[in-house]
């Protein structure tokens, strides 16, 4: 493998790892996602720094072109991540909906209580 490719992949993996760590440091990434992304970033760094690793992994599972193993793994990971996000956004949507309904009912309660107070002659 040419040195430039080696350096490029190592650079890419390091940038991803740095990004994950920075997001984690700023508390933008919640724990359960952080673990997933940390593992992914570390795996990328490992594959980039040991170029023979992917080849031996591929031959171990019987994949002829090592890059195909990488693509397959990447697709699976991306699919899992997007399903995870769909699940989370669905849950958030349901929670938001419930809160909106509660807000509507509480506003109604407040308005009625206020009217009742005024009707009783108690001024605020």
């Amino acid at each position: 493998m040419r040195t430039s490719v080696y350096l490029l992949s190592l650079f890419g993996a390091t940038v991803v790892l740095a990004l994950v760590l920075e997001l984690l440091r700023r508390r933008h990434l919640r724990g359960k996602y952080a673990v997933l992304y940390l593992v992914l970033a570390l795996g990328m760094v490992l594959l980039a720094s040991v170029p023979t690793l992917l080849g031996s992994l591929a031959s171990a599972v019987g994949v002829e072109v090592p890059a195909n193993l990488l693509f397959f793994a990447a697709l699976i990971v991306l699919l899992m991540v997007s399903m995870q996000l769909a699940y989370e956004s669905g849950r958030l949507e349901e929670e938001t909906r419930t809160l909106a309904e509660e807000v509507a009912l509480m506003r109604l309660d407040v308005e009625r209580l206020r009217e009742q107070l005024h009707a009783d002659g108690t001024h605020d």
Partner: protein, 243 residues
């Protein structure tokens, strides 16, 4: 049975930008059911729907943003659940539902838990022709078979619910497309509720006529089948205690 005047009745009117019609709807309901509580759920309107409803004498719950009919109705059912209403009736805010059928719907709640005010059951001259009506017929047949009741109009938003149905719907009333009509009937059936219908005549809608094309009807049926499938697959647990 005394025409819904003895038990505590709540009429829920979901309204999204219906300032022009909601006042008349509230007044019509008030004429037919003077003792009922009328709750208008303002589904994030920006045209003074809430003020119009209040001026007509309804109490108004305002959602902070638009949730769709399902969200507005679940708000109504939650209100009914918490305030101990025996019957909750749903009437559209656009004026297509004739309030004079309300007593019949409410009376029928003694026989069933969810009573649909249905078109195409002999009452009125509501003429819908073409592929759209075939799609609605097929859908009604299928849903009717699932919930074991002869139904002709499962997409009607004119319905009355018993205390048991109020409890179920205060937890589950889907906000997705057709979730508030088709899916909610399947949920009711799966929760052990009885579904029935009463023939009604409906006024013609002035705005938002549904698509009449063949392609539109096929899409409609496909989406309805999806909603139906989801309703059959999903679990709908009803907690024992009130929220």
């Amino acid at each position: 049975m005394a025409t819904g005047q003895t038990g505590r009745v709540l009429v829920v009117i979901p309204a999204f930008n219906e300032a022009g019609s909601v006042g008349t709807v509230v007044a019509d309901v008030r004429d037919v059911l003077p003792l009922a509580t009328i709750l208008v759920v303002d589904d994030g309107s920006i045209d003074g729907t809430a003020a119009a409803a209040r001026a007509a004498g309804a109490i108004v719950a305002r959602l902070p943003f638009n949730l769709g009919v399902g969200g507005a109705m679940r708000t109504g059912y939650r209100f009914a659940e918490r305030n101990g209403y025996e019957v909750a009736v749903q009437v559209d805010g656009d004026g297509q539902h004739d309030a004079s059928y309300l007593p019949q719907l409410i009376d029928a709640v003694s026989q069933a838990d969810v009573v649909i005010g249905a078109r195409f059951a002999g009452e009125g001259d509501y003429a819908v022709r073409g592929p759209r009506v075939w799609a609605m017929r097929v859908l009604s047949r299928v849903v009717g078979r699932i919930v074991r009741a002869p139904l002709t109009d499962v997409t009607s938003g004119y319905r009355a619910c018993s205390r048991r149905a109020i409890k179920v719907f205060s937890h589950h009333y889907p906000a997705e497309y057709l979730g508030d009509t088709v899916e909610s009937l399947v949920i009711a059936h799966r929760a052990g509720l009885r579904v029935a219908q009463v023939p009604v005549a409906m006024r013609r809608r002035t705005t938002g006529l549904p698509s009449q094309s063949l392609l539109g009807s096929v899409t409609y049926l496909a989406r309805a089948c999806a909603a139906l499938g989801f309703a059959l697959i999903r679990r709908w647990p009803v907690p024992e205690e009130a929220t």
